[in-house]
Amino acid sequence: MTLPRLGGRPATIDYPLLLTALLLSAMGLAMVYSAGQTDIAAGAAAAAWQRQLVWFFVALGSAFVVTRSSVRLIEWVAWPAYATSVVLLAVLLVFGTGAGTAESMKGWLTIGGTRIGQPSELAKVAVALMMAKVLAGMRGTPRSLVELWKPLLVVGVPFLLIMLQPDLGTGLVFIGIAFGMLFWAGVPWPLLIMLASPGVSLVFAFNTSVWGAWFLVLLALLFWYRPRPIEGVLLAVLNVTIGVVAPLVWDKLNIYQQRRLLVFLDPQYDPQRAGYQVLQSIYAIGSGGFTGKGYTLGTQKRLGFLPAHYTDFIFAVVGEELGFIGVSIALSLFLALFLRSTRVAQRGSDMFASLVAFGLATGWFVHVVVNIGMTLNLMPITGIPLPFFSYGGSFLLASWLSVAVLLRISAEGRGQADGLGL
C-alpha cells in the first residue's frame, strides 16, 4: 500500500510501528474494559471502555489525516500548535477545573460544565514539534548554556504554566522530552549535566555528604570541560546556594508546612493515601503470579482495593489479571515501540523530522517508566498515565497523533527502498 504522493515520492507504511501501536491500543482497551468489571459499584469505570473506544476511533481518524500530510506541513504547524498550547495552558490557570483525585489541579479545559480535555497532553506533542524546529535551526555544536536559550525557552514556558496548575508529573515529562531532544540534537553531555545540576542539587540537598560528593563531581566537570568562566562560576554558586539554602528553608518549615509544600508540588496524593495505593498495587501485581488470575477476574480490582485502577494504576490490573506473562508482553510491546521509534528518528529525512520522532518517543518513554515503575513503588507517585492503556481521551488522541507523525516521518525517511526491511 502506498500513501498518497505529497512529498513527491512514494511512501510506505511502517507496518511494525503501526502494528505495535495497534496491539498496545487493543490491549489497553481490553484492560479499560476489564477495569469496569467489578463487584462493587464501578462508577465512572463501568462505562469507561465505551468512551475510550469512541476516543480510539476519533484518534485513529485524526491520525489518518496526519499521515496524509507531510513532514513539511507538520513543521509548518509547529508554531501555531505551540502557540495555541501555551495560550490554552495560560487560560487553564484561570478557567481550568480539576477532576477526580486531582480536584485541586486546573488541568481540564471545561466548556459549559463539560470537560473537553487536558491541553497539557496536546502540549507535549506541540512542544516536541517546536523544540525540533528550533533545534534544527541552530548551527554548530553549542559550547555554553546561553546558546541553548531558545530551546530552553520553548520548553520552559509551558513547563512553568503546567507547574502553576500545579502538575509536577506532567512537568517532569516536559523536562524529560527536553533533555532527550537536546541529547539527540548533539548537545555535549557535560552541558546536559550542567543544565541538570541545579535540579540534582535540590534533590541531593537533604543529605549533606551525598550533596558534597555530587558537588565535587560537578566541580571536576567544570574544570575539565571549561565552560565560559562566568557560566561556570554562576553555576557553582547556584548549586552551593541551593545545597545550603534548601535544607535551611525546609527545616524552618514545620511539619504541616512541609506537608503542604509537598502536597502543593504533588497535590494528587496525600502521603497516607499514596502509601495505601502503592501497597494495594503491589499486592495486586504480586498476587497475579506467573499466569495471572484471569482476564477480568482480579480480586484486588473487583473488590475495590486497587484505587485508580482504570487510570493511573491500570498496569496493576495487567499484572493481577494477566500475570507475569501479560506484563512481559506489554513491556515487550513498549520496548518494540521505543526501538522502532528510535529507528524512525535515526532515518528521519532531515534534522527536524529526526528530532520530532525522538522527542515523541522520549515522551512515551518517560510516561511508561514513571507509570509502570510507580505501580511497583520504584518511582514516586506523580499521577501520569500509561500511554495506550490509561483511560483518558486527550492522552489517547495525543498518543495516536504521535504515532501518525512517526508514521509520516518514517514514510518520508531515508532507506525506505527496502520497504519493511529493518
Binding site: 539527540w184 548533539g186 495486586a284 504480586g286 498476587s287 497475579g288 503470579g289 506467573f290 482495593f305 520504584l378
Partner: protein
Amino acid sequence: MSFHPNEVARRARAVRAILTLVIVGLGLAFFRVQVLRSSQYALQADGNRMREVPLVAPRGIIYDRNGEIIAENLPGYTVSLLSPTADSLASALDALSKLVPIDERHRSLVMRRYERARNQPAVIFNDAPFEIVSALEEHRVQFPELIIQNSPKRYYPDGEAVAAVMGYIGEISELELTLPKFEGYKPGQLIGKAGLERQYEAQLHGREGSRFVEVDARGRVVRDQGVRPDIQPEAPAPITSTLDLELQRFIHERYKDSLLGAVVAIDPKTGGVLALYSGPTYDINRFTGSMPPSYFNQLNTDPRKPLYNKATQGAYPPASTWKLATAIMAMEMGIADIDTYMERPCTGGYMFGNRFFRCWKHEGHGNVNMRQAIATSCDTYFYQLGLKIGLSNLVAGGIRMGFGSRSGIDYPQETMPRFPSADITRYYNEKYGARNWTNAVTLNLSIGQGENSQTAINMARFYTALATDGTAPRPHLIQQDVPRERLFSIRPEQLAALREAMADVVSSRGTAGSAAVQGITIAGKTGTAQNAGPDHAWFVGFAPYEDPKIVVAVFVEFGLHGYTAARIATKVMEQYLKTTLVNASATTNAQ
C-alpha cells in the same frame, strides 16, 4: 548542531542500550514480585478480601449410665455483623434495632465484642429465636454485612433436673482468654462456666470450623459461598456420666417445689455418682445463647440461692450423722464396742464441769449401749465417748476419714470442709485465744457440731466406706476407674454391728422410723444441725442393708429434724432399687 549520520548512529546505539536495559530492568522487578514473591503477596491480597466466619462446633454429647442423653445440641441460629469500622457497626445496629429488639445494654455488648476481634463478625444473637431470624431474612438486602448461620445450641432434655450437676455454658470472658487453660480459644466462643460443662471443658469443646466470605474494600460482604472451602467444625467424642437420669428425674419431679437442699446418691461399689440434685433448681436451657439478663438476676438474687450447688458447695455441721465417725474411732482404739455402756446414763444431758450439755431428748434416753445410742442418736452417750477418745485423737481420726479435705469429686469449686487441723492447740488458740477454750470443744465435736462443716458429697463418701469395707473411691460424675482408699480399719463384725445399729435408725426403734420403706432394709443416720434459724436436717444412709447398692446423702435446709431428710433419702433408695435398677437390668437383658 552535529547531525552527521555516524554520530546519530552512535547516539542511537546508546539509546537502544538504555531503552533495553530499563525495560529489562522493569521486567526483572516484575519477575521478583510476581514469580519469586508471589505467594507472599497472594496471602496479602487474600487477607484483604477474605473474612473468616467461625463455624461453631457442637459440644460433646453427655450420656447417662444407661445411654440416655443428658446434654446434646439442637440446631440454632447465630446472627452477626461483619463491619469494617465501629461507626458502620453502630449505624447498622441502629438500623437493625428498628426491626428486632436491641436495647442499649445489648448494643454495648456487641460493640465490645467487635472491639475484641475486629476482623471477625460481631455476634449480635448467639441463639436467635426463629422470629428474629425470619424478620432479618426478610430485610436481608438492606444489610449486606449481616451474617445469619446455623450454629448448634446446647440443649438439656431434662434441663431443670440436671441443672446443678451440668452447670452451664457462656461466652468466654476477657480474663479467661488470658489463661493458659484457654489457649487457642477465640473471643465469642462458648465455654463451660460451671458444673460438668466447666470441669470437662477440654473434652466437651469441639474444634471450631471456618467459613470464608469475600468482602470489598469497604468491608461489605460480596460473596458468602464458595470463596474457599469451608473448614467443617468437629464434634468431640461423647462422654458417659455415672448419673442415672431416671433417678435424677424422679428426684426432680418429686421434690422440685419443696426441696431446699441437696440430694446425692452414690454407687458404693464404684464411687460413681448416681444422682446429684440441688434445690431449688433452675432451667439451664435458658442459659444457652441469649439469656434474658432478668432471668439471671432473678436467680442470682433469690435468697434460696438456686445457682449454688448445695451438694458440693454447701457445707453445714454434719450433726449426728457424724456420730458414726466417733463410734468408729472408739472401736479402732478399743475404747468401746457396739454393746458398751457409758458411765452415766442419759438424763436429758450431761454435766461437764459447771456446764450442762443437752441431749436432744429432754426426758433422756436412760442407760443405752452404743447400738441404742446410734439408733436413738443419744448425745449424752457420745459426749462421754468423745471425752474418752480425747480431742487430739478425735481430730486426727476425723482427718484420716477425710473430713478435713474435699471429697475430690470431678466437679469444680467444691467447698473445703471446715474441720480442726491436726495441731489442735494451735488451731483452737488461734480461734479462741490461748486458754480461752476448754475441753468442751471435744463434746461438741463428738456429736458433729462445733468446728465441723461438711458437704453432702463428702458425707456420702464417708458412708460409702460404711456401706462397704471401710474403703471408698473418690466420688465421680464421669465414668472412670477410681481406686478405693481406706478411711478406717475396724473388724468386719464391728462394721456389721454398726450397720445393724444404722438399720435400727430406720425402724420403729430409731429416729427415722417414719421413713422406713416396705420390703427394703435401709441403714443410715439422721442429723439435726443446730442453726441460728430453724435447724437443718440431714440423713445419710444406704440400701439394701444386706448388700448396699446405693448410698444417699440428703440435706434439707431448715428441715428441723433428721427424719425430714430421711423420708426423701429412703424414697430415692426405693425408687432406685425397685424401679430404676429393675428397668436397667431389663434393658440390658433385652439387649
